[in-house]
């Protein structure tokens, strides 16, 4: 994993969520999550392993991987999160232009990653998909959806995140 990307993401997430963000030492993707027939990893199994390793002082744990992710019933996912839970995981694989036989574009990749991470973390704060296209919580099934939806929470979703953050911190 490109450390430059993680460092950039740490700052972006810190600004967006007004929180302290720390980069933990890398952990290997659990081998049992690998689905050989599909050459992909089950994100639900990765989440399970991550949950066994949450630092005591952490409110949320976000995993970032280069592996292509899926769940048994879907051909692929950009990421997965526990709604109202602790952990989320995001894959870079399908956010890269190269995946679609296009010229690599680092700034586009970073923008997509920022949106996906914020989206999945939004789920961990209890948010479900938002009907507003301008909101980062808008459902996106394709990379085009990711590009066209908003890059931040709408006012409604922002309020939910702020209120749930306060509750979780108190708890």
């Amino acid at each position: 994993m490109d450390h430059g990307i993680l460092e950039w993401l740490r700052e972006e997430m810190g600004d967006c969520l007004m929180a302290t963000v720390r980069i933990l030492p890398p952990i290997p993707v659990p081998p049992e999550s690998f689905e050989s027939r599909r050459n992909q990893h089950y994100s639900t199994k990765i989440l399970k392993v991550m949950l066994g390793d949450v630092p005591q002082d952490a409110l949320k744990l976000l995993g970032v991987t280069d592996k292509d992710l899926c769940i048994p019933i879907l051909t692929y996912v950009f990421g997965e999160a526990q709604v109202g839970g602790t952990a989320a995981v995001v894959s870079l694989a399908r956010l890269r232009q190269e995946h679609y036989w296009l010229t690599p574009d680092r700034s586009l990749l970073l923008e997509r990653l920022r949106k996906e991470c914020l989206h999945e973390l939004g789920h961990t704060f209890g948010l479900v998909h938002c009907p507003s296209r301008d909101c980062v919580m808008y459902l996106s099934n394709t990379v085009v959806d990711v590009d066209t939806r908003g890059r931040d929470f709408c006012r409604g979703c922002q309020t939910v995140v702020a209120s749930n953050t306060a509750t979780e911190r108190r708890g």
Partner: protein, 458 residues
């Protein structure tokens, strides 16, 4: 924006035998804001069915024990409107076609493209919204067709409903005319219920069922000792209806003497009890009704013209059911709903064939006769739909046997048969004939029918 979403949460029932499939599908759908419950077998799904109003069921095709299509069949027995999506990892055209033919809403091959399932579920949510909206609008529409217990979408009837609502606000006397069973008393009650007098009594007097002297005492009451047997003071219906509404049914059947008395009451707005001297003022509203042609009765000098004009301040003529056939399906639904509640049945509707039969009948007994036919159909219906075989009308064959006889002769013979079948119990016989008691008494009088071995019971 998230608030808007929560209103339309749809419940998805995931039935899948692989734990990981259930967990991931549940998680993915929850991210989309749906309320999801996952169970691991068809049997468990059936157990959970009554717990909540499920909107959508996602069912795996291959499961141990009961498979997805068997489960869908079972579910549709009790919840025919349930939308079912069949999922499978081993797709064949045959199973897909079978599932869709059996009533599945859609068919997915695992793993799905995220876009496909999102789109399908969104379509279902929209469909669900439309169904809800449709139900709401239907109810709203029905309200417009209703006046208390009366229901119609016939233009003339709707004008009558409007007129009744307007009249209700005043104290004017109303004369309701119409054939037996058209709902004259229902309309009178509706006028009362819509009026400022609604909390005061609605008193109904059936003028045709009583002899002249009995009716007089019934209407005006009597003082103690007014006549032999008058052992106590008795307040009449006119007094009981104080501040409320007095409904005089079958006004066309009262004697000329009583017509005179009633005219005086209407003109002077006061009366005396039989045998009394005290003048009692009346402030009740009078609604009269008849199924007779009063104009013809005036011509034949059986009815006083001056009383007719007194009563006919506001005149309402209820058209017979055969002149407003469009009301038949509406009334049928209304009666089915009513009898479902009364009998604790769950009839959901009526077959097209049964409606055709009902629409082609002439309904001489009008809405009351239709109600009786539906009541019987609801009782005998085996499934949750009323079908042709549940509808019992006088058959064309039996009518054909009487071709040489006049209509009156057939009517007389039929009434005699029904009376004998019911041991001359008037209420039961009237019910079976689809007419009211008063009409039956009139027919007995008219045809001079007598109980074999005695007179007609009064």
């Amino acid at each position: 924006m998230t608030m808007e979403k929560k209103v339309n949460i749809i419940v998805v029932d995931v039935v899948d035998d692989e734990e990981i499939v259930r967990a991931s599908l549940t998680g993915w759908l929850e991210e989309d804001g749906y309320r999801v419950e996952a169970v691991e077998s068809g049997r468990k799904a059936l157990e959970r069915l009554p717990e909540r109003e499920w909107d959508l069921m996602l069912v795996d095709l291959k499961m141990p024990g009961m498979d997805g299509i068997q489960l869908m069949d079972e579910v549709h027995k009790t919840a025919p409107e349930m939308l079912v999506i069949i999922m499978t990892a081993y797709a064949t055209v045959d199973t897909a076609v079978k599932a869709m033919k059996k009533g599945a809403y859609d068919y997915f091959v695992k793993p799905f493209n995220p876009d496909d399932i999102s789109l399908t579920i969104r379509k279902i949510v929209d469909h669900h919204k439309l169904v809800q909206e449709n139900l709401f609008l239907r109810k709203e529409l029905k309200k417009q067709y209703k006046l208390r217990d009366m229901i119609s979408k016939n233009e003339k009837m709707l004008e009558i409903f409007d007129l009744a609502r307007t009249v209700a606000k005043s104290s004017s006397t109303v004369l309701i005319q119409g054939e037996s069973g058209t709902g004259k008393e229902l309309l009178a009650r509706a006028i009362h219920d819509e009026s400022p007098r609604m909390d005061a009594p609605f008193i109904s007097v059936s003028c045709a069922s009583l002899t002249e002297s009995l009716l007089e005492s019934e209407l005006f009451g009597h003082e103690k000792g007014a006549f032999t047997g008058a052992t106590a003071l008795n307040r009449g219906k006119l007094e009981l209806a104080q501040d409320g509404t007095l409904f005089l049914d079958e006004i066309g059947d009262i004697s000329l003497k009583l017509q005179m008395d009633l005219l005086r009451v209407l003109e002077q707005r006061e009366f005396r009890r039989v045998g009394g001297s005290e003048l009692i003022p009346i402030n009740s509203r009078i609604i009269a009704a008849t199924n007779r042609d009063l104009a013809a009765a005036i011509e034949a000098e059986r009815f006083r013209a001056d009383l007719y004009y007194r009563l006919n301040v506001i005149s309402i003529h209820i058209p017979p059911l055969r002149e407003r056939r469009e009301d038949i399906p509406l009334l049928v639904d209304h009666f089915i709903e009513k009898f479902n509640i009364e009998m604790g049945k769950e009839i959901r509707g009526i077959s097209e064939g049964a409606v055709r039969i009902l629409m082609s009948n002439d309904w001489p007994g009008n809405a009351r006769e239709l109600r009786n036919v539906i009541e019987r159909a609801v009782v005998v219906a085996k499934g949750n739909i009323v079908t042709e075989s549940d509808i019992s009308l006088p058959s064309a064959a039996s009518a054909a046997n009487h071709r040489t006889k006049s209509l009156e002769e057939i009517e007389k013979a039929h009434i005699r048969v029904v009376l004998n079948e019911n041991q001359w119990n008037i209420v039961r016989s009237a019910h079976a004939l689809g007419i009211d008691r008063v009409t039956l008494y009139n027919k007995i009088k008219k045809f001079d029918l007598k109980k074999e071995g005695g007179a007609a019971k009064k």
